[in-house]
Symmetry: C2
Amino acid sequence: MMKPAQVVKALAALAQPTRLAIYRLLVTSGPEGLAAGQIAEKLKVSPANMSFHFKTLSHAGLVESTQEGRFVYYAANFAVMNGMVDYLTENCCGGHDDSCKAPTKKC
Amino acid sequence: MMKPAQVVKALAALAQPTRLAIYRLLVTSGPEGLAAGQIAEKLKVSPANMSFHFKTLSHAGLVESTQEGRFVYYAANFAVMNGMVDYLTENCCGGHDDSCKAPTKKC
DNA sequence: TCTATTGTTAAACGATTGTTAAAATAATAA
DNA sequence: TTATTATTTTAACAATCGTTTAACAATAGA
């Protein structure tokens, strides 16, 4: 189970329009990810601003980067999102209510 | 599907240690919820600070309050959390990967 | 009524955040 | 090497956030 501080960090990383858009784009892009420049162009964000937000997402563990030539590819780390969801839903309703269960399958 | 701005608001509401603790307490407490004072005592937070954080959580739709005499009971609104999770996981990996599915059941 | 209890509101303050522009770094190509 | 491309870093700034203190409702009971 994730620690509260790590969950807060992940939630904070996603709690910003540009970063949420970046993350969603990476979630739909799958494990290969996208180059920083592609994302910047698609979302109309300046390179400097992109780097700023990538750092926040990376530090939260939500995305990972791999350099390929001149390009830096970013991809979503699904495990951290799942950990976040697990943390939020754990022991939902005290676990007493059958109609109130945490998610069983995730990305 | 929730709008991005509403998702950002919900994420931001949870992206703070005190508010995350409040919310987790309410998630485990189920539909009846808890009185503001009970939460404040349990989490060792001042009443004024509690009100401040309740307002943020309420405004994000994550909790709902009902007054009973002098007491104000707060309870988690699970639908909003589920909407948030749905938004984050929608079209995961482009929907192409069978080993990569969004949660099917939630609180 | 008067008093205690429960919770909210308002103002002030320091701390953190997001954006921009400019400079710097890293990797490739000519 | 020099130039070009891709991304990061730095510094500056306004804007937002979280905590504290004090004052303010609203209800309940004597």
